[in-house]
Symmetry: C2
Subunit: 331 residues, 2 copies
């Protein structure tokens, strides 16, 4: 069983997951882990993954775990967390609990080699629909407090498979960075009587970091990014939960996503990147101080000694300059 551990000095969490595991001597493998042969995420290879938890787009008469799907969700074969009892243990300075959770892979397309930027709006809508269905299902489970949805694209960005996919992890705790966002925005709201994110949207909409927008969403460069070209996508209206007004937002969300990735891809073809969805914790009532949003983090510079030692990031590109560049480019 994997476990959560808290560093006694910094308070930082780690998930020790030897199930994914290797021997200490196994780590220096080549960067590009091209396991050629059958791609386990392609149609026809459904037997190479654990049985699916969701498939969208397959004719109803076809059996589960057969081809014909447009989006497919399967448990991660090498999970960082596995469902189980949550048992805490504190011993002296050391705090740990069992690594109970859910780790799934959302296969975004049946087409190997088709990257998200080339999806049609309808294809992308099905991916978000899969997010929605999994979020709803995992909320009903009752054991999880948070579901983090994220994507690693490209070997440099940590993807071990090249077939486009995103991942989700259901956690028995609220992740530290989300906690910090919630706490800081709650305090801001208390002090200023307005939502920090609403204020941010207003300010970024008329500012030098704006990339593009539509009637419902704004995309802008982060003011203090972790990587060059770090881009945030945020609902303009006050919405704390990704599932809030989901159907109404869907078309505009696909539109802004394809615009942003089209622009990024036009500047840096094949860009390796990560994105994460930050949303209110599972089962929250609507929060007056929070907005769900996507953070898109290109993988262009290295996390190195300075970042490990300070927690701050050196970024060699002005967000305002990057935004001007992206604004002017049409995919």
């Amino acid at each position: 069983m994997p476990e959560f551990r808290r560093d006694p000095v910094s308070g930082r969490w780690a998930i020790i997951a030897p199930e994914r595991g290797k021997r200490p001597t196994d780590f220096l493998l080549p960067e590009e882990n091209t396991k050629e042969g059958r791609c386990p995420l392609c149609p026809g290879s459904e037997d190479l993954t654990p049985p699916e938890v969701l498939a969208l787009g397959r004719p109803e008469e076809a059996p589960p775990n057969s081809p014909g799907w447009k989006v497919r969700v399967v448990p991660n074969k090498y999970p960082a967390l596995i469902p189980g009892e949550i048992e805490k243990e504190t011993e002296g300075l050391y705090e740990r609990f069992s690594g109970a959770g859910v780790h799934e892979v959302i296969v975004e397309t049946p087409e190997h080699g088709k990257s998200l930027v080339r999806f049609s709006p309808n294809e992308l809508a099905l991916v978000f629909e899969a997010y929605r269905l999994r979020l709803e299902e995992l909320a009903r489970d009752g054991r999880w407090r948070y579901v983090l949805i994220f994507k690693n694209r490209g070997a440099r960005a940590g993807a071990s498979l090249s077939h486009d996919h995103s991942q989700l992890v259901a956690l028995p705790l609220i992740p530290e960075l989300v906690k910090i966002e919630l706490e800081r925005s709650r305090i801001y709201h208390e002090r200023n009587g307005e939502c920090l994110f609403c204020k941010l949207v207003k300010s970024e909409q008329n500012g030098p970091r704006r990339i593009c927008e539509n009637e419902r969403f704004l995309a802008f460069m982060a003011y203090a990014p972790r990587q060059p070209l770090e881009t945030w996508i945020m609902p303009k209206k006050h919405r704390s939960d990704f599932l809030d007004h989901f159907d109404e937002n869907l078309e505009a969300l696909c539109d802004i996503f394809l615009k942003v990735f089209g622009k990024l891809e036009a500047i840096l073809p094949g860009l390796p990147y990560n994105f994460v969805l930050h949303t209110a914790p599972l089962g929250s009532a609507p929060l007056p101080y929070y907005h769900w949003h996507f953070e898109i983090i290109p993988c262009l510079t290295r996390v190195a000694g300075f970042e490990w030692g300070t927690g701050a990031y050196i970024v060699p590109l002005l967000p305002e300059e990057a935004a001007a560049f992206l604004r002017d480019i049409s995919p």
Copy 2:
């Protein structure tokens, strides 16, 4: 001028340093940035760096910036920060101040291709001696609150030059991660009447994560690491500042360093890694609650979507298993 910026949502700091800078389209370069030709850190190429601020081991009669040195410290040619006035500016949600600081390169050896693990104890002692002299000098300057010393080894770990070197950055603020360590250990001391680090040393010394020790230092695997094989080196006696009892500690420090890196190198030859020195802020009186220490962070897994989204790290190797492995290996 570079600038410090604080993210209005998370509070995280970034240094925007377009001086190092590139155009947005310049970023997708090959991983190994082997600028062959003359290595700017080799003896005989002193004209390729800014004029040195320190050289150790060169005969006194030789002129500055000439060969013959054993360790040489030069300003970074592409600095993340540059000396200057510290001007703050807050505008609505956005907090920034000028990127004033010092960014230097410590060339650890005249021998290109000789890595730290193959240094003699005396050669390594000169590197630490250079750290000491620069820390003392930068403390006298009066403008800086903290000096972070770190090393990036290998292209995967962010080193843009293969000639072994470490770096230092003098900062007008205490880095967030150091602040958190100081704050948490101060509170621990207040509540428990003992030093968290002293307690940690005692506990790790007899525990399953111990790697090796000598009369003055202990090396152990971090309980909740950010990377497989993350290793900490800590003085056994209570010392909050790296400069405290420096001369007395030096031989033992070199000994433990060479032991640890010898073991790591024996398991994973050519291991890319980062290390950072955490010590008390410049000019602190001795702190009753803090220990200076080195954190050695191998570069073996990727910071990816999960880590960006949560602030927690997935580590596929048990620290206890890694420690057992390292304990048994002799370089």
